[in-house]
């Protein structure tokens, strides 16, 4: 009798033919749930993100890129060039046995290699092929070159970043930190693959999924689109035209974030600031008034916040029922006792990069928690994977000599 599974997806085989950010993040999510993930890397240096900073110790090294190490936890690495006939054959054998294939190449590239969905579906009708791209597999921008900056900037959320712009000439739109568009596409891809898996469990049939990163970010601008389609009121990123816009506000020793849209919050904020008489005007008593007189109100609130430190404002504000929180740096957050108490970080050993902490999980689960083991070395699992496919040591040497693996 087999032991009770403690990893939710430990019966799944995932093939990841993807590089950089979106595809690898999607593969990482499956590896974290226990799926066996084989990452196909170029024999010519591997995933290009191996050459991207930050590096452990600061020195560029293909096994020390923090992004690679994080995005590829728990995977097996196979170096393979599927543009060669022997390489394509190995790819097909792996795909024939896989549940899920994740790829993030330009639309049409897989088909041009003879590895498009129709070809792979004929080989393995149960295969779920997840194609992540910048703009999608169809439409006028299909062949546009993407980049996280482009995908983010083109979404309305990109136009609205940063919020509350005072000078539209000087404050150009910014992308979000952390390759947000690619990460959003990755999570959508992982969720979509699970939908397809439930469908396959019922029908026996695989599927081909079109997951664009741009549309993923466009989908975060639902509330900014609604005024246009419901009130014929185009969205503005300007401070003066923003309705109830918010932003981090300076206090004595840093920044806090709060909002005073609800009347109860407004009362709590006044109390927190010691009920200053100039805030006690009936002009500010309702949301419409606070919005109309924001130009006068906001500087007064700012002035009072500067008298208090972050800890006091957050502790007292929360006690009064105010929505208020601290604005931390990454380093402050990484050491915060609350995140420590929740085990938000996990220490992982790596034979070349060393031993340090990583963010542990996107979400916490009681029954089948996300697992984290180190990222693979380039081509670390070539021998084991090829042997399982029936390639002898001599075959493997020949494949290596020919640049296939």
């Amino acid at each position: 009798m087999s032991a009770r599974p403690t990893q939710a997806l430990d019966d799944l085989k995932v093939l990841e033919f993807a590089e950089m950010l979106s595809g690898p993040m999607c593969g990482k999510m499956f590896a974290g749930m226990g799926a066996q993930v084989i990452k196909i890397e170029s024999p010519n240096g591997g995933d290009p993100i191996r050459r991207h900073p930050p590096f452990a110790g600061g020195e560029p090294h293909p096994e020390k890129s923090g992004s690679y190490l994080y995005l590829n936890t728990g995977k097996h690495s196979l170096t393979l060039n599927p543009t060669t006939p022997s390489g394509a054959e190995i790819f097909r054998r792996l795909a024939a046995d896989a549940d899920i294939l994740i790829e993030n190449h330009p639309p049409g590239l897989m088909a041009s290699l003879g590895l498009g969905y129709d070809a792979l579906n004929a080989l393995n009708p149960r295969l779920i092929m997840v194609s992540i791209s910048a703009f999608g597999q169809a439409g006028p921008y299909r062949d546009w070159k993407g980049a996280d900056l482009i995908e983010f900037a083109m979404s309305l959320t990109g136009y609205n970043t940063p919020t509350m712009v005072a000078d539209v000439e000087r404050e150009n739109p910014l992308r979000a930190p952390g390759h947000a568009a690619e990460m959003m596409g990755a999570a959508n891809a992982a969720a979509a693959a699970m939908f397809a898996l439930f469908n396959r469990d019922a029908t026996g049939r695989g599927d081909w999924l079109d997951v664009p990163c741009w549309q993923a970010v466009v989908n975060t601008a639902k509330l900014e689109m609604a005024p246009l389609t419901y009130l014929r009121s185009p969205f503005s990123r300007e401070r003066a035209k923003s309705s109830g816009g918010m932003e981090p506000l300076p206090c004595k020793d840093g920044y806090v974030y709060t909002l005073w849209a609800a009347d109860a919050h407004w009362v709590a904020l006044k109390k927190l600031l010691g009920d200053p008489p100039e805030l006690d005007s009936e002009l500010f008593n309702d949301l419409a008034g606070r919005h109309q007189y924001d130009d006068a109100l906001r500087p007064m609130i700012r002035e009072h916040l500067l008298k208090y430190d972050t800890d006091y404002l957050v502790r007292e504000g929360q006690r009064l029922g105010l929505t208020i929180g601290p604005v931390y740096t990454v380093g402050q957050a990484a050491n915060h006792p609350h995140l420590r108490a929740r085990d938000a970080f996990v220490t992982i050993d790596h034979p070349i990069a060393g031993r340090f902490e990583y963010p542990r999980a996107l979400v916490q689960m009681t029954g089948t928690p996300v697992s984290s083991s180190r990222a693979p070395l380039l081509g670390e699992h070539n021998g084991a994977i090829l042997a399982r496919l029936g390639y002898s040591l001599e075959d493997q040497q020949a494949l290596r000599a020919a640049g296939v693996i």
Binding site: F195, V218, T329
Partner: protein, 406 residues
Amino acid sequence: MSRLPLEGIRVADFSWIINGPQIAQWLATMGAEVIKVESNVYIDIGRTNPAGMADRIPGPNRNGYFHALNYGKKAINLNLSIPRGRDLAYDLIRKSDFVLECFPAPAAKKLGLTWDDVRAVKSDIVMISVSLLGKTGLDPANWVGWGPMACCFVGMYDAQGYPGGPPRQTGGTWPDYAIATSVVFHALAALRHRNRTGEGQWIDASMGETVIGQMHEWYMDYFMNGHDRRQLGNRDAAMAPHNTYPCAGYDKWIAIAVANDSEWTALKNLMGNPTWAGDARFADQFGRLTHADEIDRHLAEWTRGFEHIELANRLQAAGVAAGPVLDSVELHDDPHLKEWGYFWKMNHHEVGERILPGMPVKMRNVPQLNYSYPPDVGQHNREIFGGLLGLSDAEITSLMEEKVIY
């Protein structure tokens, strides 16, 4: 209509506002029966916010904020602050696969919707809790807050600024959306685990932790090297030029990202090979990264002469990654989104024809997702309390009078 992936799965959805509804919308459009439990005691503010009210005529079934986040679902009313309401909620949970809630921890406790409460009702339930910073841990687990506060806590807004400037806010309520498909993926993994083992579990999702997982470069640099506070603006580690540049007109911009020498050459050619661009210091990617500010100043002078959408088309045709920064009108009219099929149109009984954002993935074998219209307040009371929970019409009527179904 072809089979939907989550047919046969039921969600007791106690969530509201943005993050929970976005999670439930993924499940609903993919075929799960999502029963949204609302109450006039705490009506979803998406139904009341004046900024989304169709044609400024008030009404709880007229709001674009609510419609955009809640189509595909069923809606019932239930007053959870009284025991009979809570009993009915537990009856619903007994017949569900998922429970979803996004209350602050003290409110969840008051309403009888903690993990301990819910698993006592149904031991193999998969419960999804979404909150600012998680429902376990220290004091922040009890905070009231909303999405952007999670970004503040974990360093995202500090990193969002212009280099050397104050922390700034990412557009919209980023983590409310960022957490949605992360949760959906793990929740479906949990459901699959339940199908294999009969065991339920609790997903205690923290918006802050999801954002941490997406900001790996910042966290890894901190843990590997002790580096803190990197505000990069639009700077990239590997690409330059890499920024947004002004175009003709008021508040019009284009994003341009050059990844290698051939793209740089293509850009120079399109500009007509101006003298400044031939500077030997800009000849390779390292030089362009080093002198990115200087290149940006020149490039901005050139882009100013063009309309942003037209210039993006020309740059892309020349092989340069570029995109127009679209405002809401331009996004609404975008030809690619039209052809790809992102938006969809409904003809709603109160607000008439409206365009709504669709789901941002496509499945070849599931060509039509469940885009049933966003429910009116209490629209499915009779269906759910009568059909699913087996109450008689008379019982339902009296529960309405007693403000239990309310």
